[in-house]
Amino acid sequence: MKKLPILILILVLTVLLGGQTGCSKKTKSDGITTGSPIGGDSSMTDDTSSTTSQTDGGQEMTTTSPIAIEFGDVFYDFDEHILRDDAREVLSHNARVLVSAPGVKILIEGHCDERGTREYNMALGDKRARAAKEFLVNYGVNASRIELISYGEENPFASGHNDVAWAQNRRAHFVIQ
């Protein structure tokens, strides 16, 4: 439930893109451990190390393989924009995907549940999207690849008026631009 894949994009036509970075991937990947950094303390930047991400799970990718790009939604507590541990895990995954596909730009949508008034939630949705972006930038994703939008409570994922729906609606959602 928490890791609902909202958008799965198979970029078959990114061979060219992959090809551009593929050489460096192959040559530099050996120096990179397969462990994925958790949290925002990575000092990697995707300028120099699109190189660093391709060995996700220890499997070396070939340049001709399609790249599966899948972003998980990030969920928040009520009236909070602080990232929970599960949010950090999802964001780490999202960051790895972004680093592995440097041509991809994203829009992070900040959403709120319906409680509280709309104007406050516009501001809160903005904070949530920014918190997600900050994590990605700290991870090493170039900030220029990330745009933000706050939908406040205006575009709920679940339409109910209960705890289950509210928990699903307090989220940051990633859209490929």
Binding site: R118, E119, Y120, M122, A123, K127, I149
Partner: protein, 464 residues
């Protein structure tokens, strides 16, 4: 022009001052009363009806007389003394009786139009002669002292007459009802006002306009996008709001008369617009500095100036009647509370401390009090507080049927319009803060929310 007439008129009326005093007495007494309505039907008076009617002014409305026009054409068209009576009742300031033109009231115990006995002396009589004159109806209005027969106030109002549709606009009646309210209670009524709100059906959002008695609902825009937070400019012909129709949310002003949409703020996530009382400035929130801060710009969006400086959410500004202060919501100490700041950025003070959630403030246009949303356990209720921090009290107690949003004052500073989530749907409601009489305004399909009450309009604008 009309204001001058009114002021002159009040000089001729020694009783006006008495009613003013009585009106303030009503407020002070009800301020101390628990007065908490429960959830329920369309219109309910939660306080004891006879008790609250003690403070209402009994007036008698004569049946209209007609010249050059057969009143039969208005049957079933919601025009005539019915409209006037509704206006007077909706103001929650009057007990209304009706009688034939020129007839004296019968002796003995009288009954009002709602079937309740009238145990007070009837104060005034309203006599209206309707004369057709081309495309206009002239409403020759007289307000008479019921005991002496003396004329308190007299004036002729216009209403537009459509000979093809056999229809007349109700605006003339609304306007005269408002002036009669002023003469008898010291407070101008708000029958000649409208409410703008957002209606959402599926992903379709639209701005709707409705008379304050729930009639004449019209659709304003068709932007095919998320819109929220509409707010009136004091000129009565412009509504500003946030819209997503260009992708990112921006602030727009819609001129109702010219039907023209203008982008006024292109900043990041601009929301919660509110025009200053003189209409020259607009306050709003934007996240361009990394979190929501309040800015004040000229009404056209130019020369924005930052008002708040804190790494927390600052939003939902509302102006004091003088335009010198602003109340807003901030979660700078962990949860949303209300703060007041001078419009020049000085003298920040915290207004609310109680509870974990106080949000969406609206400063009364006539009094030093603020209505806002307050979270009580899991319910969102309405509360009022004096601007000096005294007199905080809940004005709703819906509990599980709570879900109150965006309370906004009527120009009379007595009624509040708000959105309420009930039965899995949002609708627009009106609450009389002094008597706690509750009315449901909208029953349309979909969600209706984000209401804003217009200022007292001088003329109805043709927005059809």
């Amino acid at each position: 022009m009309r204001l001058n007439e009114t002021e002159n008129g009040s000089d001729r009326l020694p009783g006006a001052l008495i009613w003013l005093l009585l009106a303030s007495l009503i407020v002070s007494i009800h301020a101390g009363a628990p007065g908490i309505p429960t959830a329920g039907a369309q219109a309910e008076v939660v306080l004891d009806v006879t008790k609250s009617s003690f403070f209402k002014v009994p007036v008698v409305v004569e049946e209209f007389t007609w010249q050059n026009l057969d009143p039969v054409v208005f049957q079933g068209r919601q025009w005539g003394e019915e409209v006037l009576i509704d206006d007077l009742l909706f103001s929650d300031s009057f007990v209304v009786l009706r009688c034939q033109a020129g007839s004296p009231l019968p002796a003995g115990l009288l009954v009002d139009v709602q079937g309740n006995p009238v145990d007070k002396r009837v104060q005034a009589r309203i006599r209206i002669e309707v004369r057709r004159s081309g495309s206009k109806l002239k409403l020759k209005t007289k307000l008479l002292d019921e005991s002496t027969g003396q004329e308190i106030f007299g004036k002729t109002y216009d209403a537009h007459w459509d000979a093809h549709q056999l229809a007349a606009d109700r605006w003339g009646i609304h306007r005269l009802a408002d002036e009669i309210s002023y003469y008898l209670t010291g407070t101008r009524g708000c029958a000649a006002t409208r409410i703008v709100y957002v209606n959402a059906q599926g992903s379709d959002r639209d701005l709707h306009l409705i008379d304050w008695d729930g009639l004449n609902s019209t659709s304003l825009t068709n932007l095919g996008a998320i819109i929220l937070s509409p707010t009136w400019k004091p000129d009565g012909r412009t509504v500003a709001f946030t819209s997503f129709h260009e992708g990112q949310p921006k602030l727009y002003a819609y001129d109702l008369k010219k039907q023209k949409l203008t982008k006024i703020v292109s900043s990041t996530t601009p929301s919660a617009p509110k025009y200053s009382p003189n209409g020259k400035n607009i306050a709003y929130s934007t996240t361009k500095d990394g979190n929501a801060e309040i800015y004040i710009a000229k009404a056209d969006g130019s020369k924005p100036k930052r008002l708040t400086f804190h790494n927390a959410i600052d939003t939902a500004p509302s102006w004091s009647p003088s335009g010198k202060q602003i109340v807003f919501t901030s979660d700078r100490w962990g949860n949303p509370q209300l703060f007041i700041i001078n419009a020049d950025g000085t003298d920040l003070t915290q207004l609310t401390f109680a509870g974990r959630w106080n949000d969406s403030p609206d400063w009364s246009p006539v009094k030093d009090r603020i209505v806002h949303v307050c979270r009580i356990e899991s319910s969102f209720e309405l509360a009022v507080i004096e601007t000096n921090g005294d007199g905080w009290r809940l004005i709703t107690n819906f509990q599980k049927e709570g879900g109150c949003e965006n309370p906004r004052w009527a120009p009379d500073g007595r009624h509040v319009v708000f959105a309420r989530l009930i039965d899995n749907q949002r609708s627009i409601w009106i609450l009389d803060v002094d008597t706690c009489c509750l009315r449901r305004l909208t029953r349309s399909a979909g969600d209706s929310y984000n209401p804003a009450w217009s200022f007292t309009a001088k003329d109805r604008l043709n927005t059809q």
